[in-house]
């Protein structure tokens, strides 16, 4: 033990009688043990410190960037604040399309042990085929939608029955568009898609108002992933979609649809349409078609059924077009109400022979008689006297051949051939509504012009746009109208239409207490290969009521009615039923002393 000295406190000597070397040896061993332990501890500490230092270098230098990004991703989030889609309301603020929160169902295929069993459990509740569900559950995927925006009842059912599935299935809240009136006004409203974007009808046309603007916020999350509200910074404020107020009256729409459905059932027509318009302002009060689809379940309907036939289908207006001829002839001054047109039941022109329906004969007719009797021969004679140029000009002034400008999508322009192409007997056939095609809306707009002293007003379906607080953002102003025919001419044609209802082909449209102006139409349907289809007709009735102070312009149209097919027989009663109830609803008092220019 050389070199090792035991330090002893001064003044303390080895007690007498004891060997001095023994304590010194024990102390030395004890201190050696202590040194050993201290050395080991020091090494351990150094290693730990080294490890920590290495870890620090690894975290702060080597992996700093990636960890920073990871931390940012975990702590900070961009929150997209979804706006609420605006509602569609009728003219009195009654909701036609609203938002309802619904739940979407998703699966986590990577956590599903038996996809087939999972599919067998889930698919029947969702109304899907188990094979389709199973096909989507690829085990390498971590997320797959099972169904979007399911009804609350379905979600509840799924929760109770699929409780044992644990984390393999999940639910997310999403806003769903709902149409509380079912099929009512389906063709007007259209529908919104799975991501709440307008796809058809008013939903599509007014998307710019309804959609709103999504907001953006930055937010921090806590350790559990919950957003910390106090750290939220709104970068872009969200703007909710505006409510769109339509000109539609829910009650009149229902009346029109109900009466149309009854007519379709009675006549077994393939489809029908009823259009109700305020002639002074151009506001569409109802636009009914039958059959319809349910916008709540639009996937079940075919794309062809989504189309609004009042805007997209063109047809030959038939005898209802005679009022256009009368207006053109009176406006051009080629005839008046007293002039008599004589014939023997046929009219030959350019090798064609024009006859009356059912070979009737009206030997002496004024223009008023021609309208009242719906005489094809008389109309052909008036058209011949009028000439193609003047007739074409009036037709175009009344809005045929161009879309009316209604806000809804897909409006057809119709077909008005230029006068140069009116060879043969085209001029004469156009006189009674064959050889020209128009949409039901165009026909009604032209008739409304006659009720409006010759002014054509642009039809519209947008009444106003309101923000979430109910403030008006946009209000459709009343169109002053553009003159198409002289006011005197319009009044004379109206008087002829009153006569047609009172004593002519439209007597079934007469309404107690109200003066009705109207015109029947029974048009043959053109065949795709040329000519006309045998026994295929479009029956229609065009009416304005009350004729002395017009409030409603109504067009009823039935395609291919079976059995009776005359407009005056099948369409006029529908007009009467709609007009009577709509006038009651609008509180239009009956007038027994109505005076019309005769």
């Amino acid at each position: 033990m050389t070199g090792r000295r035991v330090r002893r406190p001064p003044g303390r000597a080895v007690p007498p009688g004891r060997h001095a070397f023994r304590p010194a040896q024990a102390d030395s061993e004890h201190f050696r043990l202590i040194r050993l332990r201290a050395g080991l501890l020091l090494i351990g500490l150094l290693l730990a410190m080294g490890g920590l230092g290495g870890r620090l270098i690894s975290l702060h230098i080597v992996h700093a960037r990636s960890l920073e990004r990871l931390a940012e991703r975990q702590q900070f989030a961009e929150l997209v604040i979804q706006p609420r889609r605006g509602r569609l309301l009728d003219r009195w603020g009654r909701p036609l399309a609203i938002n309802v929160d619904a739940e979407s169902v998703y699966a986590v295929p990577s956590r599903i042990d038996d996809p087939a069993a999972f599919a067998r459990t889930v698919a029947p509740i969702l109304g899907q085929r188990p094979a389709d569900v199973a096909a989507r559950l690829r085990p390498d995927r971590h997320f797959v939608w099972l169904a979007r925006r399911v009804p609350a009842r379905t979600a509840q059912q799924l929760r109770s029955r699929a409780a044992h599935l644990g984390e393999a299935i999940g639910f997310l809240p999403e806003a769903r568009r709902e149409y509380p009136n079912g099929t009512l006004a389906a063709h007007i409203l259209g529908f919104a898609g799975v991501d709440n974007q307008g796809l058809a009808g008013a939903e599509f046309a007014f998307e710019r108002f309804l959609r709103g603007r999504a907001g953006l916020a930055h937010i921090e999350r806590d350790a559990m992933g919950r957003p910390r509200f106090e750290t939220r910074t709104v970068v872009v404020e969200p703007t909710d979609g505006a409510d769109v107020v339509l000109t539609i009256d829910q009650v009149i729409q229902h009346i029109a649809e109900r009466e149309l459905d009854r007519a379709l059932e009675a006549t077994r027509a393939t489809w029908g349409a009823a259009l109700v318009m305020e002639p002074r302002t151009g506001e569409i009060l109802a636009m009914a078609t039958s059959p319809r689809f349910d916008p709540n379940d639009f996937e079940r309907a075919t794309p062809a059924e989504w189309n609004n036939p009042i805007l997209t289908r063109v047809y030959e207006p038939g005898s209802t077009f005679k009022i256009v001829l009368a207006a053109a002839a009176l406006d051009a001054g080629v005839t008046d109400e007293r002039q008599v047109f004589t014939n023997n039941g046929t009219y030959k022109v350019a090798g064609y022979t024009i006859r009356e329906a059912h070979n009737r004969i009206f030997p002496r007719q004024t223009l008023r008689d021609i309208i009242r009797n719906s005489s094809n021969v008389g109309a052909a004679m008036v058209a011949t006297r009028l000439g193609a140029e003047a007739f074409h000009a009036t037709i175009r002034r009344l809005g045929f051949g161009l879309p009316t400008g209604l806000e809804l999508p897909g409006e057809a322009a119709g077909l008005v051939p230029p006068p140069e192409q009116w060879g043969g007997a085209k001029l004469q056939t156009i006189g009674f509504g064959q050889g020209i095609s128009a949409t039901p809306l165009q026909v009604l707009v032209a008739a409304a012009a006659l009720a409006n002293d010759g002014l054509v007003v642009r039809p519209h379906i947008l009444r106003a746009v309101r923000d979430a607080e109910g403030r008006a953002l946009e209000v459709t102003s009343v169109d002053p109208g553009r003159p198409a025919v002289a006011p005197g001419t319009a009044r004379k044609v109206m008087a002829m239409m009153v006569d047609a209802v009172a004593r002519g082909t439209g007597t079934l449209a007469e309404l107690d207490g109200y003066l009705v102006a109207g015109k029947t139409g029974t048009a043959q349907k053109p065949a795709p290969s040329g000519g006309y289809l045998p026994d295929a007709y479009i029956a229609s009735f065009l009416g304005i009521v009350p004729a002395d102070r017009p409030r409603l312009a109504i067009l009823v149209l039935l395609d291919e009615p079976k059995g009776e097919y005359y407009g005056g027989v099948v369409a006029a009663p529908v007009f009467r039923a709609i007009a009577r109830q709509a006038l009651w609803h609008l509180r239009v008092a009956p007038s027994t002393d109505a005076v019309v220019v005769r």
């Binding site: 009654r94 909701p95 609203i98 938002n99 309802v100 929160d101 609350a152 809240p173 709902e178 509380p180 009136n181 079912g182 009512l184 806590d222 919950r226 957003p227 910390r228 509200f229 106090e230 750290t231 829910q250 009650v251 229902h254 009346i255 109900r258 107690d512 207490g513 009577r580 109830q581 009651w584 008092a589 009956p590």
Partner: protein, 155 residues
């Protein structure tokens, strides 16, 4: 080494007590116990930190409360929307008509069951009360009220 010895010595002498003439006695600052000082210092140093942490905790708690309330608000809105949808469906003309005709045995009125009541002239007969249209009132209207009222003429 040789050095002179210090010869002066100090002896205690009792002096007469000093008479204070109107001046307050100088009070000695009491000595503060070191533990108290340390405690005060510790409190002064830690109090802002505690306050800061408390405020942060309160903010976080308030944030969670807001989140919870927002969630509740969303739930209530969803419930409101669902109820509004139900109300709209219940008020739909189809349903009301079906209920009226099938359950209540009602039918649409016929023409002779309707009566028209003219109310226009009765409203027109209501006479507006006379109004004070003095010069002063007109001037007051110009300056204190609306221009429209000032321009309004007496009938």
């Amino acid at each position: 080494m040789i050095a002179p010895q210090r010869r002066t010595e100090l002896f205690p002498v009792r002096l007469p007590e000093r008479i204070h003439r109107g001046q307050p006695a100088v009070r000695r600052r009491p000595r503060v116990h070191p533990m108290v000082g340390a405690t005060v210092m510790a409190v002064l140093l830690t109090l802002p930190a505690i306050l800061y942490v408390s405020v942060r905790a309160y903010r976080a708690e308030a944030g969670y409360t807001i989140l919870r309330l927002q969630s509740e608000l969303a739930r209530l809105r969803a419930e409101h929307a669902r109820l509004a949808s139900q109300v709209a469906a219940l008020k739909s003309p189809q349903r009301i008509e079906h209920y009226a005709t099938t359950e209540l045995g009602m039918a649409p009125p016929r023409q002779h069951q309707l009566a028209t009541i003219t109310v226009g002239p009765a409203i027109a007969q209501v006479v507006a009360p006379p109004r004070d249209r003095s010069v002063w009132r007109t001037l007051a209207s110009w300056f204190g009220k609306s221009e429209a009222e000032a321009r309004e003429r007496t009938r």
